[in-house]
Amino acid sequence: MNNPKKQEKITKDTEITMGDPFKAKSHWQLMWQEFKNHKLAMGGIVVLIILYVSALFAGFLTPYNPNERFSEYQNIAPQTIKFIDEDGLSAPYVHPVVGERNMETLAMEYTVDESQKIPVDFIYRTEDTYKFMGLFETNLKLFGSAETQIFLFGTDGLGRDVFSRTIHGARLSLTVGLIGISVSLVLGLLLGGISGYMGGMVDNFIQRVIEFTLAIPKIPLWMGLGAALPQDWTVIQVYFAITVILSLTGWVGMARVLRGQILSLKEEDFVKAARAAGAKGGRIISKHLLPNCMSYILVNLTLAIPGMIIGETALSFLGLGLRPPAVSWGVLLQEAQNVRAVADYPWYFIPGIFVIIAVLAFNFVGDGLRDAADPYH
């Protein structure tokens, strides 16, 4: 456990930081060192990278357009691509699903035909094209089959592929947090910075606003604001409106952290020195105070994103956020509103698992950063 080499290195790093101009850099190095030892946080980073990369390459990774309907395949259970059959390793294949209408109930009933094996092609060309990363038209897909449809996560009541929808849904769900947090960051930096730096009346006023905002329960507020979005807005308009709504409560945490940091830093010698040397307020904030708060801001950012992801999901789930034809995890989960439906078709819940995994990953990373930023805790 106590690798002497490593200790030596850490000791060296801390020594360098003692009052020399490379402080910021070695602080980050030290933080990274600590962070690397946090296994859950590293795991979180890996998961997040996978999720965001999947969202980016959703068109390539998924076989279908998210809103494409296969009316002959409704509410089909997830299928698996198999690599092993009775004879051992085999070329990838699926068992096809065959539907038949029950003439008494008039409902479609599906069975998996275990006797048939239909090969699955990896790197497959479809008939339809899509825009790869929104840049150029292509028809290249990771996998597919010319002879049958493949629904890894099953289909919903309208015969849409849940897998394609879930991966595409990540695009909106995962970016809502990032954009929302950017807006919060700007608001929080501005108000928290002003509050901490100016002090006095201004500080007092902003403090009261913060307290008031904290006392407002988020969901009812978000619901109220979500309900106010005009029905005829486009997906993009609604999307940005949602990020703004989420940021209205999100900035508070940021502002508080920043204010506290600035208040304590204001007393430090190097800031006083800069002030005595005639540096202007804005310059002191940007040159001296901000770099010193960066790690705290980063921690706060990471820990605030999951709240926003949950916020979007919850609002869309209730029908007060993003609405179809937009595809987000919350929109997909609308299908799961009815518990009977979930009991009959448990795969409706799969987008929910993605939400939980993404939020968990962000929380782990944030926790790792928090520990790393504060090595003496």
Binding site: N2, P4, Q7, I10, T11
Partner: protein, 337 residues
Amino acid sequence: MKNNDILLEVDNLRTYFDTRRGLAKAVDGVSFDLYKGETLGIVGESGCGKSITSLSILNLVPQPKGKIHGGEIKLHREDEVVDIAKLKRTGKKMKDIRRKDSAMIFQDPMSSLSPVYTVGSQIMEGIMLSHDVDKVEAREMAIEMLRKVGISPAEQRINDYPYQLSGGMNQRAMIAVALASNPNLLIADEPTTALDVTVEAQILELMAELQQEYQMSIMFISHDLDVIGEISDRVVVMYTGKVVEVAEVEELFYNPSHPYTQGLLQSIPKIGRKKELKPISGSVPQIYNLPDACHFAPRCPHRMDICTKKEPPTFDLGGGHQAKCWLYEEGGENNEG
């Protein structure tokens, strides 16, 4: 001194901390004896392992990072000799020793008593743990105790919360809490550092009085040689977790042998001393991965070649005076230079 005069024998005590920056050898091979009825001063700059030594003796080293790694702490009780280093930290025997044999007072009087209980209840708790008495008797004894430490009117003060008392009064209250069990061994960790000079003098006087009355041994820890000189019979000087010099108090002040002790003496102001004040140059090194050498070498004016190559052993200078310095090796100064 005869063996049956010994209360506590500390032998090669090693207490280490497993920190993020590596193994910190806070106490590294400390040995000393404490005789009955004496006051032993332990002195050194902060970070020298004085406090950890004292916490080790009561088996109170902060967990989970700190641990007694080896050595012996033999306490001579009425009918047995116990090695505290081998006892379980929260075990029955250890608790019994803390209840009846030992007591400890700390540096900061304000934070050493719980803020949510009255002074009286905290004294009574100690009394009831060490004596077989009921609440009413304990209360009587607590009032008596408060009187002894000079808090009056005791009957009223007993219901006060710590934040209602001044720093000096709190320190007296803490002494009352500690002495409530009528201990043989009192460990005082910088008990006067947080107080101003007049109050400090009063507290020192009080401790000396109570020592007479209770016939107890005191381990008095301080970074302040002046205070140590005033109250101690013998003195142990510590540096980087090791004992560097032991001597009776006059011997130490008139004939300091270790360069570190000499440095400490020169750095304190003294009435009538003509010589200029000279603080020791440099600072206490961090106690991680220290080399096998004299750890004082970087700051020592008498440094020799051997000092940075090999750790000096403890040399006996006669009359119970010991120093851990190569200067006292037989003909040491004439060696290579």
